[in-house]
Amino acid sequence: SALGEGHQGVTMLARLVSRSRSRLSAWGRSRPLSTSYVQDGPPPGGYADVRYKKSIPNKGPSNGVLLAGLGAFMAYGWFFTLRGIQHRNRSNIEVHDVRISILPFLQAEEDQRYVELRAYLDEKERQLMQDVPNWQVNKPQFDTVEWVRPKALPYT
């Protein structure tokens, strides 16, 4: 190739030029005057030996110490967790106590309201259907039980 031929030519010229060091080459001042080469090689003294034998040193904390440390780490968290669980249980008991104390009051209020509303609706129904023969006001749909909790509020 052209590059190879040129390289051969330059090398030959470099050999000619090196014999007369005072003369600069025609190819430019970047051409080195000396022909000492830099090579990549091993460091002086050679490389160190490759380690191939297994090396598992038997040092560090023992099994018991490791378990004890793990246990301490977990106990630290358990302390706060259990304290929180106990507090939560006490709070739930308190809330339950409050709610069950006022439940009869609220249920009685609702019963009173329902009974009054039911009476009002029955009266309205009686007035509307007074001319219809054999009409039972608020006829129960169930015959085995007296009361079935309604799924929705009565329509007013």
Binding site: R99, I102, V115
Partner: protein
Amino acid sequence: MAPADFGEKNPPKSNDLYATAKFIGDRCFDENLAFFKCKDAHGHPARCLDQGQAVRKCAFAVMNDVQKKAPKELKAYSDCLHDNGLKLDRCRHVQKAFEEAVFTDALAALWRQPPCRATAVIP
């Protein structure tokens, strides 16, 4: 002007009930138990109107007593509960002031008794 009494004309709100619930539960235990027993026996609400009336009368009486004794503390506790979604854990400081103002020696003695209500034999 004193705050209005609790009654049919002035029903209590949820925060008032939550605030006085412990006192209601303590003083109206018999009425509440009778109402629950009636409800167990009957389904229709019309069968337990009398017991319900007694329950409400007792609750109103307790709430009015508490309001007469410490109206400001009751209002403070009620408002705190209203602002915090009826969460008791968020109003401890106000609850302390309220209960210290309302607790009487008789009631405190009742609290110091062994827990008999929870383990009472219900005849």
